[in-house]
């Protein structure tokens, strides 16, 4: 099954980012394809490359980037990013900035779209 994931909350906020990640891990373990992860609103901070969490904490941006390296398409909403001062130089490797069209494409192509937010 193809699953699209929408993340609307920033990292280290409540739990959306962690829940989304754990859901994706479980879905991939079951052999599902993650059609893409779309970061919207404050969710764009999930892949901010300048993030430096304490060493004993999870590195959320790195975790997403590693998922991207496995072939998961990580899409950062351009409008949400621009509003928040995030430009293409400030996002993690294996993620990309694109528009809402990508989200609607994900909605039509995936069998499921699941939202994690605040």
């Amino acid at each position: 099954m193809k699953i699209g994931v929408l993340v609307q909350e920033g990292p280290y906020n409540h739990e959306a980012s962690d829940s989304a990640y754990k859901f994706i891990e479980a879905a991939m373990a079951k052999g599902h394809t993650i059609q893409g992860v779309f970061f919207y609103d404050d969710g764009v901070y999930n892949v901010a490359s300048k993030m430096e969490p304490p060493q004993d904490d999870r590195h959320i941006a790195k975790r997403w980037s590693e998922l991207g390296a496995k072939g998961v398409d990580l899409i950062v909403c351009v409008a949400a990013a621009k509003r928040r001062g995030i430009n293409p130089d400030l996002i993690m490797p294996n993620s990309r900035i694109s528009g809402l069209g990508q989200l609607s494409e994900m909605c039509t192509e995936a069998d499921r779209l699941i939202t994690f937010g605040d």
Partner: protein, 97 residues
């Protein structure tokens, strides 16, 4: 349709709205702070008990454990992330935010 509720039912109306709107037999999954609603004797106990008459109500085990919730209303089904994925396989998900 799978209804996913993540907000605490003690500070937000999403669980209440979900129960009101969800069609009969639609499953409801409680995640994150919403899992605290399953504790017996809470202000939302009767809401959940009524909901369980027409919906399967699930709670995510990792989130229950993170909050130390070890007592719950009869009838609540506990699922792990693999079970969460299975629910999404069976139903299109809708998150109440």
């Amino acid at each position: 349709m799978l209804h996913i509720v993540s907000r605490s039912p003690f500070s937000d109306d999403s669980l209440k709205s979900c129960v009101r709107i969800a069609k009969k037999d639609d499953p409801i999954l409680l995640t994150e702070d919403a899992v605290t609603g399953v504790m017996p004797g809470s202000a939302v106990a009767s809401l959940l008990q009524d909901a369980m008459k027409s919906h399967a109500v699930y709670a995510l085990s990792a989130d229950l454990k993170a909050r130390g919730v070890d007592r719950m209303l009869d009838g609540i089904k506990v699922v792990d992330y693999a079970g969460f994925v299975e629910l999404v396989e069976q139903h299109k998900p809708m998150t109440w935010l």
